[in-house]
Amino acid sequence: MANHFSPDSAAKHSRLRGAVKSHSVCPYCAVGCSQNVYTKAGELIDIEGAPESPINAGRLCPKGANTFQLVSNRHRVKNVMYRAPYSDHWETRPLNWAMDRIAALTKAARDADFVERDATGLTVNHLKTLAHLGGATLDNEENYLIKKLLAGGLGILSIENQARI
């Protein structure tokens, strides 16, 4: 058959025309690949490696290339889910309700279990009945605020993430 271009083929171009580009960093491993995030009308339309990065020069691994699906994903939880003690199901709750309740539970545990002095009389000002885990996939700023509030503000000792060595 002869080579006939259809109207669509003749007009074809990339969907990135007219898109807004933001700079990001891949959320998976620690290599630190730069990503370009493209949006149109407030919707994510493409994520790919940033060519100018000296680290990845536009390349990504399969996980990095998957970032689009990580963000734009049907399985993502979009509302606060609450499970009452001994319940067998989730309930959807307002964000503010959850925040208030978490703050109240935190204060209750701190007020009950805060230790000002140890047995030898040394000032310790610590709290052992609350704990935190997580951080290696969070932003530096988030880790900073977690440590600052939970240790510096509340006196929690057990603040950890998977980075141990």
């Binding site: 949006t39 993502r76 939880v77 009945t129 885990l133 530096n140 900073y144 509030l149």
Partner: protein, 894 residues
């Protein structure tokens, strides 16, 4: 990361990934870089293509091995013996870099007379308290022999002949790590040790450099810190630290894992590697804390005297007072005054180990009420996951912040090994989180590089950034405590917490963000960077003061935000400057890309060779110059020698590149900083299939066990578990799966949990490729599909055939693909330095068949396409729509 910290001064990779391309020989060991870090691996491939030798030493032949020039299989857990063999080869064949070692390492220092090497005492160093599994008593002997002349005066023998000089101690310590011995321990050929050592030696020296790459294959052992120490010793002996193409590249696992150690969500650290104060008299006041310094933390419970004391007065850590006071000013603001020790007493004091493993052990026994779980999945992704799940069931409440309903969120109903939800008390809050493209912030990658990511769009629904969560939780708590007059509530009341927006929340397209109360993240980074109190931002940590006039949250990050509007983490100039990319992001400290780069020049300040030059002393300008920010005082002449009794940086000589160490040298022998011995020593994993060939002591004498019914161990060569198991990551998945098993594009690439075994073992046990097999450890049993492959080879270890079993870590009972958890087999044991577990080597048995469990994990329905792809992309004509979306709709014309 005390392995690197004790060797060189800072617990972080000494180099950057792109620099691997400049290497002449790369040894990858304890890392499967091609699979776990494919994009970083491109620099390794580049080096190989230029003719560099690429060596992979690993229990399994992986995608990294496939690219290597030389692959050496070894038994999982035997790495330290192999590295010891290399050290022995270098030393006994006189292949070390003389001038480098003499000037830049502590080879010439004379070790304390009381020191008795492990070699003389069955593998045990002086000072062990066996009951407490720790070196407690005579660790003062792990020390230099000091001269009475004053502080920092160490007895030395530049001829390296003194029997107690570090070099001779090292030589004797590793003398029995011969190729034959290594072969017996590791199961490799004796010739392979020689081959690897020879390649490293030939590719090191003035003209050439070798690099070592490691990852969790080294860290997840009870001797992991010492494996890294051994690599440090090799690189010091060969003169590869601080030089282009050299160094030790720690390939870490998560996008900001380096950041989460620098800005620590870790119990024992304050930001910038300051030690978290202990509940001991030596830390009772701010003055005491400053006087004892950071070295004290690593010497804790050890000797009252020792070289650690010098750290607080000699070298860069002598500035510790400025760092801690500035931190307290950042946290407590105006309430931090000289009169109240700048609020030092408000910091909680440590009275034990509160790291992850003890945390969960304690939780499973009761005693922890609430847990904030932010972006982590211990129900599947941490050692002895079944104990962890028991721990979660024992909480009063848990806050889970994540994107998907993973195993640690649905443990109360979806865990097939748990009981009825109606018996589980835990109150669960699942707060959906924003992804990184839905928020502003910075990550610190594996090469200490801070990179900023922009908010590209709003997160859906009630999803919020973790900054939003912690900020608003703080706001609420401050309100709840606002009227308290109790002294104990002073820290939360006085905590500075001003991150509300001063600029409107807009998205990149100029539209208004839906989340108006999102805090202003750059304000947080500015606080971390530091500023003069009430004044301008700081440009470097040299400006920090101990008098309360500066406030700085993370001193090692100072310079990342040197002026308003100048966020260097967001700097995107990709220009190559000789050997580095100084305009891309910001590398701590002070934007140095290669740490200890003073060592790239000879003692006189000239590059060791033209080929390997990085920084050098410019006599005309009278300063250090070159392709990188000097990791040294910029105007300190190479010939500078400290006067007797000099303090601080004045005590560091002009030819001493390791400025964080009080003696300015790299440590072959670590006088402090490592709690389980000043020299690496091979011990078998706690669960091993063979006896320790090198010492009468089977396991590390300092390893900690957590005794519980859910955490039984198969110690001392248990014949019931004859195979060596090791866990690992695949390219196609991530951690325990929360970021990959909800993604069909990744699930189709690796859809099921499998176990890799060699054909011989498969034949012996009647296991067919693709069929089910049951793997059992002392903690439990799991089922997985068998991957029978010649890539795994049985090894001959001390005359005995050893089979290895490979277990990917990626599955669990939540997500689109589900499967058994390798971590249901691993155990809670901890090394003394960093409480690290031993998931990379433990004992199992394997048989054909299935478990026949009553309940099996149930997958959620797969979403074969991303959300949002049901409709055409807006403002885009049909012919520019993605082909896949066109397929979805078919043709809709007219």
């Amino acid at each position: 990361m005390p392995g690197l910290g004790a060797s060189f001064g800072r617990g972080a990779a000494t180099t950057f990934q792109a620099d691997l391309a400049a290497s002449d020989c790369i040894l990858i060991m304890g890392s499967n870089m091609a699979e776990a870090h494919p994009v970083g691996f491109r620099f390794v491939v580049e080096a190989r293509e230029r003719g560099a030798a690429l060596i992979h030493v690993d229990p399994r032949f992986t995608r990294t091995s496939a690219m290597a020039n030389l692959f050496v299989p070894i038994r999982a857990g035997s790495d330290l013996a192999f590295l010891g063999g290399i050290i022995n080869y270098i030393v006994s064949n006189d292949r070390w870099f003389k001038e480098y070692v003499l000037h830049y390492s502590n080879a010439s220092a004379i070790v304390n007379e009381a020191f008795v090497d492990a070699e003389q005492n069955n593998g045990i160093f002086p000072g062990l308290d066996p009951a407490r599994h720790a070196y407690m008593k005579e660790t003062g002997s792990w020390n230099y022999s000091t001269l009475p002349d004053g502080i920092g005066a160490v007895e030395r023998d530049p001829s390296l002949q003194h029997p107690r000089c570090v070099f001779q101690v090292l030589r004797r310590h590793f003398a029995r790590y011969t190729p034959e011995m290594v072969s017996r321990v590791c199961g490799c050929k004796a010739g392979d040790v020689v081959r690897v050592a020879e390649l490293l030696c030939r590719n090191s020296g003035r003209e050439r450099t070798s690099a070592i790459v490691y990852a969790l294959g080294w860290t997840q052992h009870t001797t992991g810190v010492q494996m890294i120490r051994a690599a440090g010793i090799i690189q010091l002996l060969l003169g590869n630290i601080g030089r282009p193409g050299g160094g030790i590249m720690a390939m870490r696992g998560h996008c900001s894992i380096q950041g989460s150690t620098d800005v620590p969500t870790m119990y024992n650290l304050l930001p910038g590697y300051l030690s978290h104060p202990d509940a001991v008299p030596q830390n009772a006041t701010l003055d005491e804390y400053i006087r004892h310094g950071r070295g004290f933390a690593n010497a804790r419970n050890c000797s009252a005297s020792g070289f650690w004391q010098e750290e607080a007065v000699l070298g860069y850590w002598s500035h510790i007072g400025s760092f801690i006071v500035s931190l307290l000013k950042a946290w407590y603001g105006d309430a931090a005054t000289p009169d109240n020790e700048f609020g030092f007493q408000w910091l909680p004091k440590l009275d034990g180990d509160y790291s992850e493993l003890p945390m969960f052990f304690q939780m499973h026994r009761g005693g922890v009420k609430g847990l904030f779980l932010i972006g982590q999945n211990p129900a599947a992704g941490a050692p002895n996951a079944s104990l962890n799940r028991a721990a979660l069931r024992n909480l009063d409440w848990i806050v889970v912040r994540d994107w998907f309903e993973h195993e640690s969120a649905n443990f109360w109903y979806a865990d097939p090994t748990a009981g009825d939800p109606k018996t589980i008390k835990t109150e669960v809050f699942f707060l959906p989180a924003a992804t990184n493209i839905e928020k502003d912030g910075s990550f610190t990658n594996t090469e200490r590089l801070l990179q900023w990511h922009e908010k590209a769009l709003d997160p859906p629904g009630d999803c919020r950034s973790d900054t939003w969560f912690i900020y608003h939780l703080g706001q609420r708590l401050k309100k709840l405590y606002a009227h308290s007059t109790l002294e104990r509530d002073a820290p939360i009341k006085n905590l500075t917490w001003n991150y509300s927006r001063t600029s409107p929340a807009t998205l990149p397209d100029g539209s208004q963000s839906r989340i108006a109360d999102e805090p202003e993240v750059e304000k947080v980074l500015q606080e971390m960077n530091g500023r003069r109190v009430g004044g301008e931002l700081l440009t470097g940590f040299g400006e920090l003061k101990a008098d309360g006039s500066t406030a700085c949250g993370v001193w090692i990050y100072t310079g990342v935000f040197p002026a308003e509007g100048d966020n260097r983490a967001h700097s995107r100039n990709p220009a190559l400057n000789g050997a580095t990319y100084p305009g891309w992001g910001f590398a701590w400290p002070a934007n140095r890309r290669t740490l200890y780069n003073r060592a790239s020049a000879d003692p006189a300040g000239k590059p060791w060779s033209e080929r390997k030059k990085l920084i050098w002393w410019d006599e005309q300008q009278s300063k250090w110059t070159g392709f990188d920010v000097p990791d040294f005082e910029a105007d300190k002449h190479p010939s500078y020698r400290p006067a007797m009794g000099a303090l601080g940086m004045d005590a560091i000589a002009g030819d001493a590149p390791f400025i964080m160490h009080p003696d300015g040298r790299g440590w072959l022998f670590a006088p402090f900083g490592v709690r389980d011995g000043p020299l690496p020593t091979h011990y078998e994993p706690l669960e091993s299939v063979v006896k320790n060939q090198l010492y009468a002591t089977q396991n590390s004498p300092t390893v900690r066990e957590f005794r519980a019914d859910l955490n039984l161990l198969a110690k001392d060569v248990d014949p019931e578990f004859p195979c060596v198991a090791t866990t690992y990551r695949l390219t196609e998945h991530y951690l325990s799966g929360p970021m990959s098993r909800f993604n069909s594009w990744l699930n189709e690439l690796q859809p099921e949990m499998f176990v890799e075994i060699d054909p011989e073992l498969a034949l012996e046990r009647g296991i067919e490729n693709g069929a089910w097999a049951v793997v059992r450890s002392r903690r439990g049993a799991i089922e997985a599909r068998a991957m029978v492959t010649p890539r795994i080879k049985p090894l001959l270890v001390d005359g005995k055939t050893i089979h290895q079993v490979g277990l990917p870590i990626h599955w669990g009972y939540a997500g689109e693909t589900v499967g058994a958890m390798a971590n249901d087999l691993t155990s809670l044991v901890a090394d003394l330095n960093v409480s690290m577990h031993e998931s990379k080597a433990f004992s199992v048995d394997i048989r054909a068949g299935r478990l026949g469990a009553a309940r099996v994990p149930k997958a959620i329905e797969a979403a074969i396409r991303p959300a949002g792809t049901d409709n055409p992309i807006r403002d885009t004509p049909e012919f520019a729509q993605p082909e896949g979306r066109q397929q979805r709709w078919g043709l809709k014309r007219g």
